[in-house]
């Protein structure tokens, strides 16, 4: 009886999501489904909903949800057939089943099943595995991949194999003799239980070894539970004992095709095997208990995992680097292409500039296109004329600094070519603070920003690329400026002192107004001029009336009236 043998009852009142294992996934659902056990209708399973998950098939009965719902592992399904339906007959999926059925060893499997839903501690890495994994996944440690070595599952499953192989033939007739048979399979009436770890013979009522506290195989409980479950088996077994190893799912409300597709896919994926069944099967087939077989367990397994992951990472990295290299080669081509394009554009614009009287219309239209192309290039970071110069574009650092100086000269004075005459930062100003230069330059670059240290490196190279030359000057206060020749110390000093001689003493503010510079900057510059004796100060704190230290202290600058003074008083 396939249905009974291969399925396990579940409480259908629980939503299907709550029945899933942690690593299980609900794939599809269809209601209005009936079940055929073999070729006959299963009377208790005619209206319900079928759910296909990555591991199991659920049938939740719509009428008698609590009692007549079941689940079935997909691993039992060896073959499926699809019947599209004809006239009144609805579409059906036939699942041929094989493998170790659960039905007869239900109590033992239940015990194992219950154990699966406990949390357990791995003996190798002491990781506390959470409950809720599928049976195959729960058999190995989630962390280190070592199979669970504690007693119950393997041993009971082995014993259940004995049962299941012996049972199908004698399932009905020898139902009464079975208990003794099962007893004999476990040996004589258990007077004592040998500890699997230390072989100490413990009293059967003990659950763990008296000596080493290892959990003992629960022989007695199995034996106790076996008879209680046994009577159920024969009483509803009205069928013959030919193994009708198939069930049919009848779709009374359609939805058969998508569900069948999903089922096929789930069967193909075999996700119930993913984690540990393979190794388990290996262990079973070898019929040995060498759990440290060179599989995926133990320290060697961990090492191997680490190794493979490292290898994988390395190959990924290599791939990425190769990609990057290829990309860089391409980037060079791109830059070259952009350069050529730019050259052509310049050539065209210059020729059109020469022959502007000849081609007026195209002369108007062309620059627009040119600027469009140029701006596109610049958006790609490939604009040649004002491309931000970066270190990797240059061969050596000296050349790089040189290029930067040229670029900075453009920023400060505007481009010397006739293309755009917007003028640079110093178009209307002869002197500009270095911090402003830095900010403006980086704003102009937009990418690959220049650190202040590099700016300081570049500044000394500036005079070679600027016309009129722009030089750097540092004041004693630490203020750094770039200036054109009229603002050099000598020129400014001469201008100021002659100005003072001409128009009389002036305050700093008055001078800054005349020079159109900031007061702070002017006071710095005048201080410098004073240092070389170009000007002298008249402090109104020396006044007889008014003035004095405190209110209204005013400093007036005089030209150097002492210089070349010849005594003209009384001898």
């Amino acid at each position: 009886m396939a249905l009974r043998r291969y399925t396990r009852q579940v409480d259908g009142t629980i939503p299907v999501q709550a029945l899933l294992y942690n690593d299980e996934e609900l794939l599809a659902s269809q209601d209005g489904v009936g079940i055929y056990d073999g070729s006959q209708k299963a009377p208790d399973h005619q209206v319900g909903t079928i759910h296909v998950t990555s591991h199991r098939l659920f049938f939740l009965n719509a009428q008698k949800a609590r009692a007549k719902s079941f689940e079935m592992s997909l691993s039992f399904i060896v073959q499926t057939e699809y019947y599209a339906g004809l006239f009144k007959s609805s579409a059906k999926i036939t699942c041929h089943l094989s493998g170790t059925p659960v039905g007869l060893g239900s109590s033992e499997q239940d015990g194992a099943h219950v154990a699966q839903f406990d949390s357990w501690e791995c003996e190798v890495c002491a990781y506390r595995n959470p409950p809720g994994f599928s049976p195959s996944a729960a058999r190995i440690c989630d962390l280190c991949g070592v199979p669970r070595t504690t007693v119950p599952t393997p041993i009971t499953s082995v014993s259940s194999y004995h049962l299941s192989t012996s049972l199908p033939t004698s399932a009905l007739s020898s139902s009464t003799s079975l208990p003794s048979g099962s007893r004999s399979s476990h040996g004589t009436k258990p007077t004592s239980i040998a500890c699997p770890a230390c072989t100490f013979l413990n009293h059967p009522s003990l659950r763990s070894c008296e000596i080493c506290s290892t959990d003992l195989p629960q022989v007695s409980t199995e034996l106790k539970s076996a008879p209680s479950s046994r009577p159920i088996t024969p009483d509803s077994d009205d069928d013959d004992n030919t193994p009708s190893k198939s069930i049919k799912i009848s779709f009374r409300k359609g939805g058969d095709k998508p569900l069948y597709a999903v089922l096929k896919r789930a069967l193909k994926t075999k996700s119930w095997e993913e984690n540990g069944t393979a190794s388990l099967r290996d262990a079973n087939s070898n019929d040995t208990d060498n759990r440290n077989a060179p599989g995926r367990s133990g320290i060697s397994g961990i090492l191997r995992t680490v190794e493979t992951s490292a290898k994988g990472r390395e190959t990924h990295m290599n791939d990425a680097l190769q990609d990057l290299e290829a990309f860089m080669v391409k980037a060079k081509d791109m830059v070259k292409l952009a350069a050529e394009l730019n050259e052509k554009l310049t050539a065209v614009s210059s020729s059109s500039g020469k022959g502007s009287d000849v081609v007026l219309t195209s002369g108007v239209a062309e620059p627009e296109e040119a600027t469009f192309i140029r701006s596109s290039l610049s958006q790609l970071g490939l604009k040649m004329e004002n491309t931000p110069v970066t270190l990797d574009m240059m061969k050596d650092e000296r050349k790089w600094v040189d290029e930067l100086a040229r670029e900075l000269a453009h920023v400060l004075q505007g481009s010397s070519t006739s293309v755009d005459h917007t003028g640079g930062m110093m178009k209307n100003r002869g002197i500009i603070a270095l911090d402003e230069v830095w900010g403006g330059w980086n704003r102009a670059r937009g990418v690959a920003l220049i650190p202040p240290s590099t700016l300081l490196q570049v500044v000394p190279h500036l005079p070679a690329h600027t016309n009129p030359t722009i030089r750097h000057r540092a004041f004693t206060s630490g203020l750094n400026v770039l200036h054109t020749p009229p603002y050099s110390q000598a020129a400014f000093g001469a201008r100021i002192s002659s100005f003072l001689m001409m128009s009389g003493p002036k305050t700093t503010v008055e001078i800054s107004t005349v020079e159109d510079l900031t007061v702070a900057l002017v006071s710095e510059m005048i201080d410098d001029v004073e240092k070389v004796g170009g000007v002298m100060r008249d402090d109104s704190s020396a006044a007889i009336t008014g003035g004095g230290s405190g209110t209204g202290v005013e400093l007036k600058w005089w030209g150097n009236v002492f210089q070349g003074y010849i005594w003209d008083g009384q001898e």
């Binding site: 001689m501 009389g504 003493p505 004073e530 240092k531 070389v532 004796g533 002298m536 100060r537 008249d538 402090d539 704190s541 020396a542 006044a543 007889i544 009336t545 008014g546 003035g547 007036k556 005089w558 150097n560 009236v561 002492f562 210089q563 003074y565 005594w567 003209d568 008083g569 009384q570 001898e571």
Partner: protein, 191 residues
């Protein structure tokens, strides 16, 4: 800019630089300041000679009404020399041996050497010779306040002592202790 000479009520002709306001401000630039200090020293000595002033005090720059007002202040441009500035000028004068702190070990007042002590010694000796007092004993009072006004009238005693000491080195004077103080005998030029 109207820098011009100016004659004071006492008949002293002030130099044009005295009407330049920066002259009264201490200049941070050492070169400029040294020029200014030079002119100040020249002005002070020249004025001291004009007015026969011997002592200059820092206080003279602080309060109006002193006999140095004509050069330490310039009412026309509303400027005066600040005490610190004057003190620095005096220090420079002392370092150049154009003045000497009197009393010593302070910097608030100084004797202005508009004649150097050596010059004063010669002046003193010439005067003694001219009044025929060689080989006779003279008190300091006799010298500083002679019946007939001389170049030495009101000469401060410390300066007088220096002059006498200089003459003593060449054997032309001799300090003599007398009942009510000190006396000095001038001797003929050494044979």
């Amino acid at each position: 800019m109207s820098l011009s000479t100016h004659a004071t009520p006492s008949g002293y002709l002030l130099p044009s630089i005295h009407s330049a306001p920066p002259f009264f401000t201490e200049q941070p630039n050492p070169t400029t300041q040294s020029t200014a200090t030079e002119q100040w020293i020249r002005l002070i000595i020249s004025y001291a000679r004009h007015r026969k002033l011997f002592v200059l005090r820092v206080e003279d720059a602080e309060t109006p009404g002193s006999e140095w007002d004509e050069i330490l202040r310039n009412e026309r441009i509303n400027r005066r020399i600040l005490p610190d500035h004057l003190s620095n000028v005096m220090a420079t004068m002392v370092s150049k041996n154009l003045a000497g702190y009197e009393p010593a070990k302070q910097t608030r007042s100084a004797l202005i050497y508009w004649r150097l002590p050596e010059e004063w010694a010669e002046v003193l000796y010439d005067w003694v010779v001219s009044v025929g007092q060689l080989n006779s004993i003279l008190t300091f009072y006799d010298i500083t306040d002679p019946p007939l006004e001389s170049a030495l009238t009101n000469i401060p005693v410390p300066l007088l002592r220096k002059a006498i000491a200089i003459l003593g080195k060449t054997g032309r004077s001799q300090m003599i202790a007398i009942a009510d103080g000190e006396g000095v005998r001038f001797l003929a030029r050494s044979k």
